[in-house]
């Protein structure tokens, strides 16, 4: 009888989830792999890979990407780690506000930052023009490598900040006191004690920054100009003016996956070496800083955060400027808002419909998978767990391309539908949500569920009445972060959308590429407002107030 019970509803879910992953992840991945090794004549070939590596025009993009990615990772660490250290060790005036700003920076779509920086420092940017008029000098060019680096660094250092802040909160104050006691203080203590203690987190943050920087294509597309990077190449090969070249795009995608997978492995191996658990009984308490040092850390904090937030502020400002055609003109009004919303009347409802469905699906699937992985671990759940983590190392545009290749022909045609957008968002977001749900569930002792069962509750009832409510705080705060990443997602959606399924982020992108900066600014402001509201809801629900991506 108990044996029979094992084949309960969970078994149905195993099969359903496994099948869904097979259809919507493995099959598309297979399609992309297949396309990458099949020649025009239908035979097995490596010609596309050879083409990529033999022509400098293509292979150069790889070197460019590595340049951008590695420098971005280094710079975000150099900026983010000290910022987190100052923020958590010392009293900084206005710290709550600063944290909100940093989180907001991390949540905006990178290409919006890119286009705002062009507005500020580009050839006709306000700052450029201002300096030129004032001094006659022309400041260095923002386009190309420097611009990409600037935008990505300012976009991604918040991740390092948030991760490292979390780690610092787990350091027991007595460790620092012991270090002081042994004569290791100040800068020396930072490098000898604090950084090593945060090393696992720093590695995790580096990987995240690396993946994001490597996969981001909105930024280089807008600001890169001649500096061609890898993700842009995938995109242009797939959708570019030169016409669609599935096989070549597929080959480049495979290369991209291999590279991110390699880095993932390296990070895993490294963090195993540094792995240890910490749990602070007496967390670090912020101390007031003194004298010159106090001035310095305040200046540093405000400067970095100000610089990172500047583009968003400027966009808000721009959104109220009057426009005529593509140009800004005197005076302020809401006309950019009214026009842009009218022109893209589907975008806002689409954002809520597509984002909403994706969010619900992500949360439900993540809870179920987390439950299976933590409480019913077996071969199938391990397989599901591994599969669900795959998209973590697959660049967003590749997910998009793979889905198109798999579902643009019979038996299952999904391209151009809401469904394919939702599926893409689910695939992309699930690894994160599953990980956080697993973490939440692992903190709930199994005895609580056993207590419920011994009190006569069925397994289903225990799950819904005990497990889910206990997870709910964590789930809700996780869901809100998912929501924000879903509504700001660009790299997958841009490959899958059409005029009927356009979302807010895509609409902004479209306006930017068309040069309608006023409209783009208006919609970007709407998006920021939506993010702020979501964040406020998050703050209300999340006990720890900590954000994990």
């Amino acid at each position: 009888m108990a044996r029979r019970k094992m084949f309960d509803i969970w078994s149905v879910l195993y099969v359903a989830i496994f099948a869904a992953y097979a259809i919507f992840l493995l099959y598309p991945m297979y399609s992309i792999l297949r396309n990458s090794v099949i020649g025009e004549d239908g035979r097995l070939t490596l010609q596309w890979f050879v083409k990529f590596f033999s022509a400098k025009y293509y292979s150069q993009t790889l070197i460019h990407s590595f340049n951008v990615t590695i420098w971005t990772t280094i710079l975000t660490l150099i900026i983010g780690v000290p910022l987190a250290y100052f923020y958590n060790m010392y009293e900084i005036k206005g710290k709550a506000f600063i944290q909100v700003l940093i989180i907001l920076c991390s949540m905006s779509a990178p290409f919006i930052g890119a286009y705002a920086w062009i507005q500020l420092l580009g050839r006709m940017g306000v700052v450029t023009v201002f300096i030129r008029n004032l001094t006659g000098l022309t400041i260095p060019n923002i386009y190309g490598f420097n611009g990409i680096l600037l935008v990505l660094t300012l976009q991604l250092f918040p991740l390092v900040f948030l991760y490292v802040s979390g780690a610092l909160k787990n350091i027991d104050n007595s460790l620092l006191e012991a270090s002081d006691n042994l004569g290791c203080t100040g800068v020396k203590r930072f490098f000898k004690v604090v950084v090593p203690l945060c090393m696992p987190t720093i590695l995790a943050a580096s990987l995240l920054v690396f993946m994001r920087a490597f996969a981001d294509f909105g930024t280089p597309l807008l600001i890169g100009e001649g500096y061609r990077v890898f993700p842009v190449e995938i995109y242009t090969q797939f959708l570019g003016e030169t016409g669609t070249d599935y096989s070549f795009a597929a080959a480049i995608s495979v290369i991209a996956i291999l590279i991110t997978a390699a880095f993932f492995m390296v990070q895993r191996a490294l963090s195993k070496r540094f792995a240890f658990t910490m749990n602070a009984l007496h967390p670090i308490e912020r101390k007031p800083a003194k004298g010159m040092f106090k001035v310095l850390i305040h200046f540093y904090t405000y400067f970095v955060v100000g610089l990172a937030f500047l583009p968003q502020l400027y966009i808000v400002y721009q959104s109220f400027q009057n426009t005529s055609g593509k140009l800004f003109k005197e005076g302020y009004s809401f006309s950019s808002y009214t026009t842009s919303i009218k022109r893209m009347s589907d975008a806002i409802p689409n954002t809520f419909i597509i984002g909403g469905i994706a969010l619900v699906a992500v949360v439900l699937i993540a809870i179920v998978i987390a439950y299976l992985v933590v409480r019913r671990s077996n071969v199938v759940t391990t397989a599901i767990d591994t599969m669900s983590m795959l998209p973590y190392i697959i660049p967003g545009s590749v997910v998009g391309i793979a889905l198109v290749m798999a579902f643009n022909k019979k038996p299952l045609v999904l391209t151009g539908t809401v469904a394919i957008m939702v599926i893409a968002l689910c695939i992309r977001r699930l690894p994160y949500t599953i990980r956080s749900s697993v973490a939440i569930l692992q903190q709930i002792p199994i005895t609580i569920e056993e207590a419920a069962i011994s009190l006569g509750a069925s397994k289903m009832k225990t799950f819904f009445r005990i497990t889910v409510p206990m997870m709910s705080n964590g789930i809700i705060s996780g869901a809100i972060i998912s929501w924000v990443t879903i509504i700001t997602e660009l790299s997958t959606a841009i490959i899958l959308y059409n005029s009927k399924t356009i979302t807010l982020t895509l609409a902004i992108y479209t306006f930017v590429t068309r040069g309608n900066y006023g409209y783009a600014a208006a919609l970007a402001t709407v998006l920021t407002a939506l993010t702020i509201v979501s964040l406020m809801v998050f703050m209300k629900f999340s006990k720890s107030k900590e954000i994990t991506f």
């Binding site: 009888m1 108990a2 044996r3 019970k5 002792p445 005895t447 609580i448 056993e450 207590a451 419920a452 069962i453 011994s454 009190l455 006569g456 509750a457 069925s458 397994k459 009832k461 005990i466 409510p469 206990m470 709910s472």
Partner: protein
């Protein structure tokens, strides 16, 4: 309704490793039965097999005459109290206690009445609308107990329910649990590795080691006539001395190294043959004779005065150290380095075979042997 629990030839394996190889046990109706043993010996494992949260690899489990091996844990009508309380953090105290009743679909007024009754019984009535995180450890444990008892289970299972509490509260809750159990009269299986707690609370105790039951008996039996060497060292403190059992003309005596001899009247007949033995002498079973008398010759190393009793730490000529407890006397405490002779209360000490497996004295009462032929 209370039940008796019979376990026959139970086997538990985790993967390749066998935790319990062949365990039989009978727990009487309404009894307070304790599983006692060192950490990792399989107490929790056995308890969770009874509860239905662990699979059973072999053997039979019965509640009365009903085999429960495959019965759904939710249908076993068991009350469980966990070490970490396992209180539902998102439900108030009252909702926690009412949870089991709601699952049983009792009418609402009955649920309210029963809940109220047990809240009062456990003296947590005044906290009923609080959330659990606002309760102290002891109060949470009372909620856990009320929640387990309110469903009128056939069996109450408790896994180290007091180990998270501080020492004073632990003693207090010990009596609260015992008193409630007495009043409700429910068959209770209690797990602990604290032998003092087990002695204080249990009707009977099963001492376990490495998944094997060593001795089942009343606290007094375990302490005074332990079935083997392990039980004698695990329950209470004791001194172990190697000696020879000498049987001449049907009379047995113990011969200690150093020449001291002690006549033993209560050696079991089948063990009455000359052999090497291990003698277990509890600290209070020594009698300090004056320096001239016959006895074990020892030198005092140190002493501790504890009011009621005085502890002496002494060593034998062989260098072996012994602990002695004497009721404190009004005279001087024996100074360090004094030579004293120790005789022993021969009717109280225990004698084991050289391998420690069997107590060779009469009067061992071990229910372990009685199980099996049920």
């Amino acid at each position: 309704m209370s039940v008796n629990i019979k376990i026959k030839n139970a086997v538990k394996r985790y993967g390749q490793s066998t935790i319990i190889s062949d365990l039989s046990l009978e727990i009487k109706e309404g009894e307070f039965f304790t599983l006692l043993g060192p950490s990792g010996c399989g107490k929790t494992t056995l308890l969770r097999m009874i509860a239905g949260f662990n699979t059973i690899e072999g053997g039979d489990f019965y509640f009365n005459d009903k085999r429960i091996n495959l019965l759904d844990p939710a249908k076993r009508n068991i009350g469980m109290v966990f070490q970490n309380y396992a209180i539902f953090p998102h439900l108030s105290v009252r909702q926690n206690v009412a949870f089991g009743l709601k699952n049983r679909k009792f009418p609402r007024d009955r649920i309210e009445a029963e809940t109220q009754k047990f809240l009062e019984l456990m003296k947590i009535d005044q906290y009923k609308d609080r959330m659990p995180e606002k309760l102290s450890g002891g109060q949470q444990q009372r909620v856990a107990l009320a929640r387990a008892l309110v469903i009128q289970p056939d069996v109450l299972l408790m896994d180290e329910p007091l180990s998270n509490l501080d020492a004073k509260l632990r003693v207090e809750m010990r009596f609260a649990i015992k008193e409630i159990q007495n009043r409700v009269g429910i068959t209770t299986v209690y797990v602990t590795h604290d032998q003092e707690e087990a002695m204080a609370i249990s009707d009977r105790i099963a001492v376990m080691k490495d998944g094997v039951i060593q001795h089942i008996g009343k606290p007094k039996d375990l302490y005074q006539r332990p079935a083997n060497l392990f039980v004698s060292t695990f329950i209470g403190r004791t001194n172990l001395l190697e000696a020879k059992l000498v049987v001449e003309a049907g009379r047995a005596r113990l011969a200690f190294p150093g020449g001291f001899e002690l006549a033993m009247e209560n050696v079991r007949d089948e063990c009455r043959k000359s052999q090497d033995v291990i003698v277990s002498i509890r600290p209070e079973e020594f009698v300090i004779a004056d320096g001239s008398g016959a006895g074990l010759k020892t030198i005092v190393d140190s002493s501790v005065f504890l009011g009621l009793n005085t502890h002496y730490f002494v060593h034998l000529e062989t260098g072996q150290q012994l602990e002695i407890i004497q009721e404190s006397k009004i005279d001087e405490i024996i100074p360090n380095l004094s030579g004293i002779a120790l005789s022993v209360k021969s009717e109280k000490i225990n004698v084991f075979t050289a391998d420690g497996s069997v107590n060779i004295l009469k009067g061992v009462s071990d229910d372990k042997t009685a199980v099996g032929e049920v």
